[in-house]
Each structure stands twice: as structure tokens, then as C-alpha cells.
């Protein structure tokens, strides 16, 4: 029952926070989309295609942010043995993969008109692709190990190994890219960016972050319920029906 203490508190917290973050997300994304699609000017060089940036850059930011969340959760699992950490980690992985996928597809859609091909082995796109593969590996590792506790610890180790590797991969891919192609490609969203473009970008980025937080809380709640269900069905299979456990509210 001690294990339950934290998740139950957490579920109560979720019930309070969820409307706030969901509302914030809706508002921010609505304003952000309006600014991005209707207010922000078309770029003099890229034309309307620049509007893809308002999706691409926030998803790229989320791809890295979610990995950061997973790394901290992995430390929480391995060092502090916090029961919520592995739930947080498991819930984050598919979301991170989805944002990374979004980053790749929007990058590809931006690349077709700007570079003339759907895919360029550009340094950034390539590192994001490798990050995507790492996400898929993490999800696969979650799926093949049946015992949730053991899976959590093994995935945590792999997440940390990946966290050490990601900067090395980024560095080596950059090096590889300058080797094969002199840096002539246009870079999306350099440091010099007009305020009319910066605002929608920032609002979209914050909106994506709150969207992730909302979804992450929902997914964590699902994961807690799934573990409760797993435990109860195992008890039921044993023939014992401890009413004390069952009678407590499912939420």
C-alpha cells in the first residue's frame, strides 16, 4: 500500500492541474496559430513556407525537452527510486517520439520547396533522425520487458546512455556534414529574426510545452491505472479479492 500513497496524491494533483494546463494550451495554441498563419508576415526569401517554421522549431524544441524530462526521470528511477519517476519516463517516450516525428515531417515539407528535395542529409535533420531512432529503441525496450519495475530500470539506464551519446552524435554529425557539404544551406530561424516572427514562434513553443505537460499528465494517469489494473487482475487470478484494495476509488 505504501506504493499507492504517492500515485494517489499525484492523481489528486492531476485533477487540479489538468484544467489549468489544458486551458492554457488551448489559449496559447489558438493565439499562436492565429499569429503564425495570419499576422506574421511572409518571408521575403522563403515566402509563405516560413510559416512551417512555427511548427518545426517548437517540435524540435519539444523533441529535446522531452528527452530532458526522460533523463531526469531516469535519474529519479535509478538514484531516488521514486515510484512516479518510471511512470513519468514511460509516459513521456511515445510523446517525445511523436514530437520528433512532427519535427522531421515538417522539416521535410519545408525542405521540398526550399531545397528541392524531400530529404536532405543536413546536419540538424540527421541528428534529429538519430534522436528519433533512440526514442523508438526506448519504446521497443519498454514493450518487450514484461515486468514494469525491471523495464523501468533498464530503460532508465539506456536513457542515460543515450543522454551521454546525444551530444556526441550531434557533434559528430555536424563534423560529418561540414566535411561533405560546405555550409551553404539556409538555416531555419537564425538568431536574427524579426519580432513579428519571434512572437508567434515563442507563443507556439510555450503552447507546445504546455500541450506536452497536459498530455504527459494524462499519460501518467493512464499508466498508474494500468499498473493498478495489472495488480488487481493478478490478485483476482489468484482467487483472492481483497476488498480494501478494490474499494478505493479508481481515480
Amino acid at each position: 500500500m505504501q506504493n499507492y500513497a504517492n500515485p494517489t496524491h499525484f492523481l489528486r494533483l492531476v485533477r487540479v492541474l489538468l484544467p489549468v494546463t489544458a486551458g492554457l494550451t488551448t489559449g496559447l495554441l489558438a493565439v499562436g496559430l492565429y499569429l503564425a498563419l495570419f499576422v506574421a508576415p511572409a518571408d521575403y526569401q522563403q515566402g509563405e513556407t516560413v510559416r512551417i517554421m512555427y511548427l518545426h522549431v517548437p517540435s524540435a524544441w519539444m523533441a529535446m525537452f522531452v528527452y530532458l524530462v526522460m533523463t531526469s526521470a531516469a535519474i529519479g528511477t535509478l538514484v531516488f527510486r521514486h515510484p512516479l519517476a518510471d511512470v513519468a519516463q514511460k509516459a513521456a517516450a511515445p510523446l517525445g517520439a511523436a514530437f520528433t516525428f512532427l519535427c522531421l515531417t515538417t522539416g521535410s515539407l519545408w525542405g521540398k520547396p526550399e531545397w528541392g528535395t524531400w530529404w536532405v542529409w543536413d546536419a540538424r535533420l540527421t541528428s534529429v533522425l538519430v534522436l528519433f531512432l533512440i526514442y523508438l529503441g526506448i519504446i521497443a525496450l519498454w514493450q518487450v520487458i514484461e515486468d514494469p519495475g525491471k523495464a523501468a530500470r533498464l530503460v532508465a539506464i539506456f536513457t542515460l546512455v543515450g543522454a551521454v551519446n546525444v551530444p556526441i552524435i550531434k557533434f559528430s554529425v555536424d563534423w560529418w556534414h561540414t566535411l561533405h557539404q560546405p555550409a551553404s544551406v539556409f538555416r531555419m530561424g537564425g538568431p536574427t529574426i524579426a519580432a513579428s516572427m519571434l512572437w508567434p514562434l515563442l507563443i507556439m513553443a510555450v503552447g507546445f510545452t504546455t500541450l506536452f505537460l497536459t498530455l504527459h499528465m494524462l499519460a501518467m494517469r493512464n499508466e498508474i491505472l494500468r499498473r493498478r489494473l495489472r495488480r488487481l487482475s493478478m490478485l483476482a487470478a489468484d482467487g483472492a479479492a481483497p476488498l480494501g484494495v478494490v474499494a478505493e476509488p479508481a481515480e
Partner: protein, 55 residues
């Protein structure tokens, strides 16, 4: 947003894909929640049933 611009199709496609991915995440999580709740209630009802039969 100028719909007649040369590459607006790509912009629309990007936003459509983003919409689909995000909607899939939201709907998937909520559907998962509902099915989990249902299974939990079912198992609780069964346990109550067994408990009644025993007492």
C-alpha cells in the same frame, strides 16, 4: 496567409500533419483512459460480487 502563394500547399500539409499527430496523441490518451477505467470498474464489480457471495 496567402493561399495563392506558390508553396502554400506545403504549409497547409505541414499544419494538417501537425493537427493529425496532436489529435492522435490526445484521442489516443483519452481513449486509453476510458478503456482502463472501464476495466477497473469491471474488476471491482466482480470482486464485490465474489465478496457478496462469500459473506
Amino acid at each position: 496567409m496567402n493561399l495563392a502563394a506558390p508553396h502554400s500547399g506545403f504549409v497547409i500539409a505541414a499544419y494538417a500533419i501537425a493537427f493529425v499527430v496532436i489529435a492522435a496523441m490526445v484521442i489516443g490518451t483519452l481513449a486509453d483512459y476510458r478503456s482502463l477505467k472501464k476495466s477497473l470498474e469491471r474488476i471491482a464489480a466482480r470482486a464485490r460480487h465474489i465478496g457478496d457471495a462469500r459473506s
